[in-house]
Symmetry: C2
Subunit: 422 residues, 2 copies
């Protein structure tokens, strides 16, 4: 790591800048893909499978048999782990369901909110080396709790753990489609793939660009995407080997992973650097992790106040607080996706099984966005009922305001009711 | 209204289609505006004010004096009405604040969510004939309740009611800037205007296009926009004159306002048409409303079941249920922005003062989006704490899953802690 000692506040913005990706070249490649799927449906999907993957894709949907046999292909330890993760994630997200509370704002004027699951949602799970069955749980469980009627899964992976997790969360249909064309299929619908109203899930730059483009057309998406990142704030109560392991667990995601370490202790930063060298050696993905760690920064600051300010400026996706009184420090953090407290709370627990969601805002988006939760899968519809007494109470207020906004028909909709009650 | 009797289900999609606006021509005009403000800041804003409005804009900010004297320029009735609306909206939105609930998902594994106000938010209020001070309340009150530290207002209007409402909700700075350049100023920041993380508020096509474009850059926005709309479902318990007044209150927003009436009663539809003719005569904005009503549809359906299906397919911004057992019918609606029950609950009460928010999803976006609420102004940061006992409980699960996803460093971050506890 590059150790930066006591930088001036004026230097922070540059230190904390994320790499900017120019998406225009990728947009130019993704737009024709979206268009082809929009206009030609399944046939477009087949053409793209032939072109990009060199395969004849006759059957898009995973069969019931594939679902049924997936479980048999997994060893018992992994199945038990997935079931335990399911249980914890379910427990945490279930508490996010909100009951209806009717509020009488004036006598006779009652308003409330109903949480209703988005009828049709889509989940994308990328292929590649890591079969992200954990993401199936993270997106499928809140969809299930929200009561979404259709949950569509698209993935180019046929890993049995993905199908097993999909069955646990009650995915209603699943398709072997990957890349930007999968996003297009769910956004526009094809003969085989149902059109959905909101699309979730990670992916490469083609996938995330496709999501941004369809979101411009009014299809909802979970959130804008960027490379994964962790910030760790550590003091002398932290354990250098634990912190190094946490930094590496982020770094192995890819060379573009963002890793930031902040500390008031020069000695601790040096210890972590030594530990990184030791632990890197043992990693199968050490090349990826090495690149990411080499680009990463360790910032030595003067005080806890400075540390908190710098962390709020950075707005990390994952923030590990390996410091004394970590919970008190966490109260002062207002920009972060998810916070991990103390020495025995590694990010990887939240990535898989503690219960919190691992779909989180990257790239500083934590300033305005939350991670995925049950909220992401429901709409809150407001409902109101006004009685005859209520309209007498509220009517004059509405008349005065509508008149001042020059919206006469708005006023009349009240006046005609008030007159009928005279 | 055009009365369409007993259409087949296959005809519904076409009947319910909203007008599609091609935004590419507007995008081409808005992009250089965004770019000018991004690169030249205040100077860019001055150039644009000169070019589009023919004015020399020296002082962007509204002065404290302008705020202080706004109140004196309003009559007591209007001030009392605004204060009453403030009170009701505050009461309803305050109930949306969520307290922290800690969930122990396994012994020693505790997770929770903290709601934290987005630090800096922007509100845009358009100029034009109607000074939308009600929208200042609708956006400013949840921002205030959420605890947003900076609330920036941009508006080309200098109507005293807007400044009065801005003071009530605790806007922290306000600028006399309108159009796409106001969105750019808040998105990028200028010497005068603070950069914000999320932008709210209505506007013309230039403003809404600017919002879509900056949202592609990762600045959050409230929701995609479209023309305002109401759907009314009425049976023989409804009052034709009330329903006609409600349809007109929507129609006066503009010629592109969307108005839909659904009923099982042919007689009732005819009565509403007669009432529309009568009431239109009395409206100051009758030309606008006439165009909108002329384009609007009244659909005669066979049954309540059909009515509910068609309303769910349409996904109206505002849905008035003037039917028997309206609350029971509302339970069957899963796509709508806001629902109004019974004969004495006109939409205009929700537009101004009943307590619910009037910033709602249009254009069918209610299928996936909620209206604005306190939720729109907070991020929910997840926090977790795992004890030594907790990591022993959850560790093996995380190790098994990380291994199966080939993320070795994720596994090691747990293993190194487990080993330290042996």
């Amino acid at each position: 790591m590059n150790i930066i000692s006591y930088p001036e506040r004026s230097e922070w913005p540059e230190l904390l800048t994320r790499p900017v990706q120019d998406s225009s070249a990728i947009e130019a490649k993704v737009l024709p893909i979206l268009d082809l799927v929009k206009t030609k449906g399944d046939e477009g999907l087949r053409e793209l499978a032939k072109k990009f993957d060199g395969i004849d894709l006759n059957e898009f949907a995973f069969s019931q048999e594939e679902f049924d046999t997936a479980e048999d292909q997994l060893d018992e330890t992994l199945k038990a782990a997935i079931r335990q993760a399911y249980q914890n994630i379910h427990t945490f997200h279930k508490a996010q369901l909100q009951s209806v509370e009717k509020i009488e704002t004036m006598p006779g004027v009652t308003c409330w909110r109903r949480s209703v699951g988005i009828e049709k949602v889509g989940i994308y799970i990328p292929g590649g080396t890591a079969p992200l069955f954990s993401t199936v749980l993270m997106l499928g469980i809140p969809a299930q709790l929200a009561g979404c009627k259709e949950v569509v899964l698209c993935t180019p992976s046929n890993h049995p753990a993905i199908l097993f997790a999909a069955k646990l969360v009650g995915v209603t249909s699943a398709f072997r489609i990957g890349g930007a064309q999968a996003i297009a299929a769910m956004a526009y619908g094809t003969e085989s793939v149902p059109k959905v109203y909101k699309i979730f899930g990670p992916g490469n730059q083609y996938v995330t660009t496709a999501k941004m483009l369809i979101s411009k057309e009014g299809i909802a998406i979970d959130m804008p995407a960027g490379p994964s990142e962790v910030a760790v704030y550590a003091d002398d109560t932290a354990v250098a080997s634990f912190v190094a392991a946490d930094l590496l667990s982020q770094a192995e995601h890819g060379a573009d992973s963002q890793v930031l370490l902040v500390s008031t202790s020069e000695k601790f930063l040096a210890e972590v650097n030594d530990e990184l060298t030791l632990q890197l050696e043992q990693l199968p993905r050490r090349d990826l992790a090495f690149q990411s760690i080499t680009n990463s920064k360790a910032i030595l600051v003067n005080s806890a106040y400075e540390a908190i300010d710098i962390l709020n400026d950075y707005a990390a996706e994952h923030l590990i607080l390996s410091v004394e009184d970590a919970e008190l420090v966490a109260e002062k953090i207002f920009n972060a996706g998810s916070i991990f407290l103390g020495n025995y709370t590694p990010e990887s627990c939240g990535d898989y099984a503690s219960g919190t969601n691992h779909t989180l805002p990257t790239n500083g988006y934590a300033r305005a966005f939350s991670g995925v939760s049950v909220d992401s899968f429901v709409k809150k519809i407001t409902v109101q009922h006004i009685t005859e007494i209520g309209i007498r109470n509220i009517g004059p207020t509405v008349e005065a305001m509508a008149e001042a906004e020059s919206l006469d028909a708005h006023k009349r909709a009240v006046s005609i009711r008030l007159k009928s009650l005279l």
